[in-house]
Symmetry: D2
Subunit: 136 residues, 4 copies
Amino acid sequence: MSARKPGKAALQKLLGRARFVSGYSLKLVSVTDDACTVSMPFRRALERPGGTVNGPAFMAAADCAMWLAIKRHIGIEHDAVTLELNTAFLNAARRETVYCSARVLKLGKRIIYGSAECHDRAGKLFTHHTVTYARI
Amino acid sequence: MSARKPGKAALQKLLGRARFVSGYSLKLVSVTDDACTVSMPFRRALERPGGTVNGPAFMAAADCAMWLAIKRHIGIEHDAVTLELNTAFLNAARRETVYCSARVLKLGKRIIYGSAECHDRAGKLFTHHTVTYARI
Amino acid sequence: MSARKPGKAALQKLLGRARFVSGYSLKLVSVTDDACTVSMPFRRALERPGGTVNGPAFMAAADCAMWLAIKRHIGIEHDAVTLELNTAFLNAARRETVYCSARVLKLGKRIIYGSAECHDRAGKLFTHHTVTYARI
Amino acid sequence: MSARKPGKAALQKLLGRARFVSGYSLKLVSVTDDACTVSMPFRRALERPGGTVNGPAFMAAADCAMWLAIKRHIGIEHDAVTLELNTAFLNAARRETVYCSARVLKLGKRIIYGSAECHDRAGKLFTHHTVTYARI
């Protein structure tokens, strides 16, 4: 019998303990089998000259949103590590909260692949990502 | 007549003023027409659980090393922005200085493309990147 | 005043003249502002050992579906060339018609970026792509 | 004791039997532990309008050169399949022989990652690729 999938509360707790993204104040907004969305509030430390959000912040959000989307499917007690992260920078974000939605497209026994998008509240895209994880 | 290419001192000065990577304490190690290498000292803020360097730090180093490699070719007064950054995570870095070497493979009138590698002092690879910039 | 967008008949005609994909017998299935779908019938020439569709065929379908999706937006008289094509191979296709749906995510003045998916009639994914075009 | 690594004759023979690239007339030019180079003669079937080599041909060459570079390391009796292939189109090739050189950057127990370049005889780049294989 398969274990129950972790819900929003369990994944939010996991995210709160995840030191590797602790500098980004990410919050879990929603999670279903289909997609996982996190939010990243604007902070001065994420700012590039001109008041836009810097690249590493988007990539951290994408990696984290995908990690939670994967945990939803494989369970909190199992883990996976990032093999590849491809990023396209489409539009600048200006001193605003960034949302990142990740979706698992292939849940293999060894490899997990998906896409993620950083966007504003209205859905305007900032970045587009593809992410490959290996189960461990 | 084409302007003289900026040397190490001018690019180091540019890097010192570049706020978008100010959190990473990057230093310019060497620059030629062929390649540009920066170093990133280990700091607690870059640490993942287990004492390894986190993903965004590698990606910030790659983006910055490529930006300097491009400035070497187009001059400090011209600029370019990151369109795409692809990253493969190959080996973990453990509480150590990371070096990142970037190389321009195509210097187009509009698009610049290159590869970058993060590695230790002996050349062992941590990450491999391809980077696309658009001239502005 | 902007020109009218080309419809299915005009794009199907364009595809019929496009020699660069003439080996793949691609047909336009549907086109809207949101997405463009082409079909690729199975042929022996696309076969790998084991009866699966080979990698270049998927990549040709993705490149072509994106090209038509772009033509829909910029018009048949304007053109764009492929800068980058990233492909993830997710599931094998077995002696069957492959469908490829492409979607423009950023229509810039110089750079156009989108994603494409090859799938079967029921929507099962074979490959996932991101594609970058430059307007010329 | 580890088996001897396959040499040029054994890999050329393997390539000759590899139906999945039989349409491209690829020949093995050289192979060492460091790199593997194949050649692809120009043929009308590879031509795009304007007399340039089409995209799928470059991608087929890159995939094949990497596959042989991997076989060199893991032996002919072991196999690996392509997970991801990223391609940047840098310069057009015009009715000429294309060479493709692949290099393994990480030989993991499960994942193999490398880069490949298609170029002319003098080394001018046509395309740059990164390739991810999974061992099976």
